[in-house]
Amino acid sequence: MTDKHTHDPLREEGHPVKDYRSGLPAVPPSSDITSADLSSTASRTLWGDAWRRLRRNKLAMAGLVWAILIVIVAVTADFWVPQRYGDPEGLDTSKVVERMLLEPSSEHPFGTDRLGRDIFARVIYGARISLAVGIVAESISVFIGLIMGALAAYYGKWWDTLIMRLADVFLAFPYILFAIALIAVLGRGYINVFIAIGILGWPTIARVFRSSILSVKENEYVDAARALGASDLRIMARHIMPNAVAPIIVYATMSVGGAILTEAALSFLGMGVQPPTPSWGLMLSEARAFLFTAPWLMIYPGAAILTTVLAFVLLGDGLRDALDVKLKD
């Protein structure tokens, strides 16, 4: 056994030849490759794969389509809504009486409110506020949460303790109460609603990201990268982050719905968007008095909140499955 190599001329010459660089024919193909392996298509990317999986999820696609539709309608609203349905904020005092509280009709598809404003127009303009809250507030949460979570997971020790206890303190407060308190300090207005919801959202993101990093860190491919001589920075950026970020994408998408709900709740309570700016929550609040006489005042903004929140939750749920690389297809 000890002389098993002696017939090899390379060894006897003190192996000067690194001959595999010259493109030697390779070792014969292994038989452990099944035909299924060979049928794999050419180039695919991680995101391409995720997209293919997402596309097959009908509910998630419905959510995505609905979210995109609302974005398009909200963005383009200025070009067609006021012309056709009237100013969502303005008051035409001369005709209030004949135009107030009209039932849905072809002229006013969702009816009108007590000041004669078109509900359809107000729902669409309300989408602007809701989407802005969802996206801006969630971005603030994600930004703070990712930094905090990464600091806690990488540096550990007292950083970890400090940040996680701070997160616990945030989570221990009743959410809406905390939001109201923040707005009381910051002042009313929708910019402050963004900030308040954004600040309140970070602890969960930080926790999810921290635990995700900690579990990814234990993976053998992180050891393998270290054994390859990769620097700490490279290991974090290339091996840990991409694997740890998927839960954040999922969680953030679902939380967009949560942020929209919180804005609606704050506006309903009069702490958020101020009249006459249309906001779904505010519209619900104004509709309370007409719950039985003019139910369309409540039904349409309520349906808008329901469907939009549901759309983001379904999309997030679909993303969770789509981003799981281990789910083979």
Partner: protein, 338 residues
Amino acid sequence: METLLEVKDLKTYFTTRDGIVKAVDGVSFDLHRGETLGVVGESGSGKSVTAMSIMRLIQGPKGKIEGGSIRFRDQDVLAMSEEEVRHLRGDRIAMIFQDPMTSLNPVFRVGDQIAESLIIHKSMKKKAAFQRAVELLDLVGIPKPESRAKDYPHQFSGGMRQRAMIAMALACDPDILIADEPTTALDVTIQAQILELMMELQQRTGSAIIMITHDLGVVADMADRVLVMYAGRHVESGTADEVFYKPLHPYTWGLLDSLPRHDIDEKGELCPIQGQPPSLISVPPGCAFSPRCPYAQPICRTDAPVLRVIEGGHAAACHFAGDPTFQRGVVDCAGVTS
């Protein structure tokens, strides 16, 4: 022959709440260019920790290399800065991990992962490195390497992943390849292919291999020299022929007796070593193997045997090794010897 690696009296300890775990406690060996060293022992005998120590992958604060020396081509590995060690890892000393299913990053294409060490160590451009990765995949016997390099790890079977891991390890043409149970997670036919591939590549590149395994069959196939470990200690070492045909240590005898053999026409019953390996926190006084050793004498339970060279390069840590009257008995499976 050029000595690549010299490990002397290596001690790696872990501090835990229950006490100090002496995972590696006095291991010594040399590794020459083009040679294969087999490291064998039961699970938990310190084989992997030895490998991790060589690459300085033991991470504080719990684990620490407490003593001994590791020299790679006359450089003191233990005295290197973290930066210097990084240039050693992956470039001069590469490692193949046990489980190919978890050692590849699921979010990167296989080709990118192989290219990574070339980008790190050889400052290659991304495109050139990827091209090289394709060549390496071809070298390790992956068909259609151009398209397979663009696949993700989950699109590879276990055997193919291990081939990809080998390609990764070979990327920078390392002097030493540490293979930590490279075939344990694979089924038997694939095991044979992977081992064959490793031997073939070794002949072409002339790199030295440290083959860590608990499979004596693998060692018999591949190794030039063998190091037997028990409870973190170096119990026997020598050429593969010496260790297999003239084993000196009762633990090695026990290991060999636990193997199924087709050349001995006897009852055909396997005789495992009785008992369990000791906890590394409280290794028995004296010889760590004494509680399980059918030949143990009073001295074995009080004095720890020193590793002695018996003849040539054949060394064993047993009080009685080399004593002509101390012979391997015929083992009865009740654990009694005659």
